[in-house]
């Protein structure tokens, strides 16, 4: 970021958003995997902020306050209900911990996005368990997109019967909230070869049509399971035809892309498009290339919940601010 723009943003933060300038500058010097997203002057900026969180409580450290939001929403991902291996023998328990975090928020999120792999083996009883757990979330609505684990048995028929009402094609859809346009995409129905996700021509044509009438100043939030940017193709962590989707999105001043699948927080900013992947509520995976292959990573039990979590997003309409916080499932003392 150029220094002048950075100063402008910091000034704006000081004057209106309640973030302490010294604290903010300090946070920018920290390295971490969490992220604070701010939209200023129509362009989205991102800042590492995992160190803003108290490692013992998972909450923001004293003296640092997030902007007042017009509305907020939460992203959870990769619940893998049914998984029972040593990496986490109680995935329902850790999902419940994420739900408890949501329900403990000072104001209830407008909605929750689940970015796929709700289940581990796409079994009816696994979907039932997830549904039962999510009934306790204090929010108006939960939106879903499938992960590849959710479509294992029947090509996604069961998933779409449960969660696909009102969607188009194989489950893609869009909706608007407070001037922000949200787009849910399905990139797991054709992922066998090499593990990469695919959107397919039908979905891309629908996306082009969906975006056609929108002004370029409308903030866009896209959510899908497999990352829409190439994280690590050797492990299938990317979407083979994502560039076609991104080319449709580049004219917009602010595009935020939220994904799951890789079970860890990652961030990439490419022009006006910011990509963010969320942690899982079930188990962590190794960093790209850090292991022979992706898969459930067993860590000492006391470290597990620090590697799981949820993502909350605050949107401020009057000053075009979007703040995203990754919160681990650490239990408050």
């Amino acid at each position: 970021m150029k220094k002048a723009k950075q100063e402008d943003l910091l000034s704006a933060l000081e004057s209106e958003d309640g973030i302490d300038r010294a604290g903010f500058i300090k946070c920018m010097a920290w390295a971490g995997t969490g992220v604070l997203w701010m939209m200023s002057g129509g362009s989205l900026k991102s800042f590492g902020m995992s160190q803003l969180l108290d490692k013992d409580t998972g909450r923001l450290k004293p003296g640092i306050t997030l902007p007042q939001a017009d509305f907020s929403f939460v992203q959870i991902s990769d619940s893998h209900i049914g998984f029972s291996k040593p990496a986490n023998p109680d995935v329902t328990g850790t999902l419940q911990a994420a739900i408890n975090k949501i329900n403990a928020m000072s104001s209830a999120p407008a909605f929750v996005l689940h970015t796929g792999d709700l289940t581990h083996l796409a079994q009816k009883d696994e979907f039932d368990t997830l549904d039962q757990a999510l009934k306790s979330v204090k929010t108006d609505r939960i939106f879903y997109v499938p992960g590849e684990h959710d479509v294992l048995n029947d090509g996604g028929k069961g998933f779409l019967e449960r969660y696909g009402k009102g969607t188009r094609g194989q489950g893609w859809y869009s909706f608007d909230k407070e001037g922000v346009h949200f787009i849910g995409l399905n990139n797991v129905f054709d992922t066998s070869e090499g593990g990469l996700g695919t959107l397919g021509p039908d979905q891309l044509a629908w996306l082009a049509d969906d975006l056609k009438g929108l002004s370029s100043s409308v903030p866009i939030v896209v959510f899908a399971h497999i990352p829409l940017w190439t994280v690590y193709p050797q492990w299938g962590w990317g979407t083979r035809d994502s560039e076609q989707a991104l080319s449709l999105l580049r004219r917009f001043g602010s595009v935020s892309v939220l994904n799951g699948h890789i079970h860890q927080t990652m961030l990439k900013v490419e022009g006006n498009i910011t990509f963010h992947t969320a942690t899982s509520t079930a188990f962590p995976q190794p960093k790209p290339g850090a292991a022979p292959a992706p898969g459930p990573m067993k860590v000492p039990a006391e470290q597990l919940r620090a590697l799981l979590g949820l993502t909350s997003v605050n949107y401020v309409g009057h000053d075009h601010s979007l703040a995203i916080t990754d919160t681990p499932l650490i239990v408050a003392p």
């Binding site: 581990h120 048995n153 593990g195 292991a291 022979p292």
Partner: protein, 136 residues
């Protein structure tokens, strides 16, 4: 094609493949159930839950591979032809499954061993340790 077995998935499955493919639905008291075809080692009445558990938790995690390691691709598509026996790895996988079951029965006195059973003494992971070929 009415239904594709296992369907697509990223980073998923499978290593040692089982010859599975297209299926048809039949009703049962436990809900919809698939009848898998071209199964030569796994029980022909294997449930989808057991099959997916073997593919994902045993093969994928045990060998660190995806479906395409054993399953051949469909012509003109990114999708896989799960019924096809075109890839030699699939034949090797069947032999590995037979070997694993025999080792458990003969040397570890596991009665009526089945792939994916929690009581197995020897599994894919025992030798593969997350790699397609042990010792690499």
């Amino acid at each position: 094609m009415r239904h594709m077995l296992i369907n697509t998935r990223a980073r998923i499955v499978a290593g040692l493949a089982v010859a599975v493919t297209i299926a048809s639905w039949t009703a049962s008291s436990a809900g919809p159930r698939r009848e898998f075809v071209n199964l030569k080692v796994l029980p022909k009445d294997v449930s989808s839950k057991t099959l997916q558990h073997i593919m994902i938790d045993e093969f994928e995690d045990g060998l660190g591979v995806g479906c395409a390691f054993c399953h051949a691709g469909q012509k003109g598509s990114h999708q896989l032809d799960y019924a096809s026996d075109a890839k030699p790895e699939k034949s090797i996988a069947r032999n590995m499954m037979r070997m694993t079951l025999r080792l458990n029965a003969r040397y570890f006195q596991v009665r009526r061993p089945g792939l994916g059973d929690p009581g197995l003494a020897v599994t894919c992971q025992t030798c593969h340790q997350g790699k397609p070929r042990p010792g690499e």
